[in-house]
Amino acid sequence: MKYTFLSLIVLVIFFTSCKKDITPEYNSSATGQLSVEFDNVVGNQDLQLNTGVYTNASGETFKLTLLKYFVSNFILTKTDGTTYIVPQDSCYFLIDESSPNTTIPKLRVPEGEYSKLSFVLGVDSLRNTVDISKRTGVLDPAGTAAGMYWSWNSGYIFFKMEGTSPVSTQNGNIFQYHIGLFGGYTAPTINNLKTITLDLTARGTAKIKATKSANIHLLVDIMKVFNGTTNISIAKNSVVMVSPFSATIANNYVNMFSHNHTEN
């Protein structure tokens, strides 16, 4: 009996302290820093450009020499269901595996506890059509976006992956997947823009305070580009750019993002 009483007290104290932890005082007019880490991996291995050797579901071995993709239009949802849309002008990032400081974009968001993250893989149609004077920073075709822009079919390349594989019949056994297309300016075409939404509840919400930043750590499994709804064979499709097959690749890579943990 005594014991039950004691454990009850302990429990109550525990809960009270817990509760305190769950609802820290958030000042929604203050902002803090939230980073989102795009940790590129291949299956259960770390991605090593040029040196790592991997095998896809079609049994083909390959190496990767280049991996770049645009992420944009971040939206965060708080535990109370309200959303925060990160202002567009500060919301375009080019993740470049060869340049580690590009893989952890930083956002300013109001204080709060966030349980859902969504973003677009690619550059939305609005930015794809905006006046040239608004295409600065990572979107400047003369700057960072130089290799990520089709000049003859005006538009950004959303996802660019290149590598080598002994099964490729191209010169130097290379393969190249350059995926873009936002649906067309006036005439409709393929739309490969993908919105990715990840629930953070199971593996840790992000708690942002002006004084305390958080990092949402995502794993980006590049193997999923090959292995998915349709398994992609490098031997059969070693170069994919503006073609109907680009949609097949985009439908695979939409599944490559998963939430691993959050560092608060």
């Binding site: 059509t129 006046d131 040239i132 004077s133 295409r135 400047d140 075709p141 003369a142 700057g143 130089a146 822009y149 000049s151 003859w152 079919n153 005006s154 067309g184 300016y185 006036t186 005439a187 409709p188 075409t189 393929i190 503006v242 073609s243 109907p244």
Partner: protein, 340 residues
Amino acid sequence: MKLKILIIIFFLAGIVACKKEITQVFAGFTKPDIFPTPVYHFETNPITEAGFVLGRKLFYDASLSANNTISCGFCHIQTSAFTQHGHSVSHGIFDSLGVRNTPPIMNLAWSPSFMWDGGIPNLDLQPIAPITNHIEMGNTMDNVLTTLRQSKEYPSLFQKAFGSSEINTARLLKALSQFMLMCVSDQSKYDSVMRGQAVFNTNENAGYALFKANCAVCHKEPLFTDYTFRNNGLTPNFINDMGRYDITLQETDKYKFKVPTLRNLQYTAPYMHDGRFLTLDAVLDFYDHEVQNNPNLDTALRKNGHIGISLSSSEKQQLVAFLQTLNDKVFIENKLLSEQ
């Protein structure tokens, strides 16, 4: 006394010569009275004299290319109405050949898309394509900006045009647009007739009637294109250029190309997207009896079960007479648009 007269004559000659130049001073962009409203977004790029002068210098500057040999004007030659005369497909850097015939830089303020396949929707984005294309100018945009920033003349020209000497992507592209937008051709005999200042002769008149009945659905007056993409019955060429399909990936767009303007044909030979026809006679022979019944052949070229447009030899000759009224000598000789 004789000397005095001579001096006066000299003086008069001087004034006359001067006057000729004065008529070609920069007067801004004005919409020709007989043209529709332009589609270019002048509100984000107002044309100024300094912007135009900078754009013209850039257009004729070979330092925009990787090895300082090729300028925009190398392929877009004014005396050929800004096309590359005598080349069926473009001839670019390191003597490499492109895959398509160079179109004119003319009346572009009315064009809603650029290139034979319309892959570029905005004139400001157009120059990125030739500058970075390895068979055209083979350069990078970044290199071009660096070259311009390091030059003696450009920073002050950018200062005059845009208010500060900063040289960036948007300013480079907007200056080039300003020059190209000023390339307006509206001084042909056809234009004078439309303005009520001249009349067609009998032959031209007959040709005009034939034109309105057979060609104007696609080659719409007064710009002589409706800017749509159509298949006019050419056989696919040896590189199997699928035109508009490469942009939209729609089956119904296979082998469609943008309807080209018919102004200044006298200067723009050869004809079609791959320059396959060397003369207008060859073009008319094609419309008369070589049109292919392609799956996407335009309905205007298969009227009442007939493929193509039947033309007798006198009709062909009348059509050519009319097409010749679309040549604009004032345009191709306009000093304002020439390399200075």
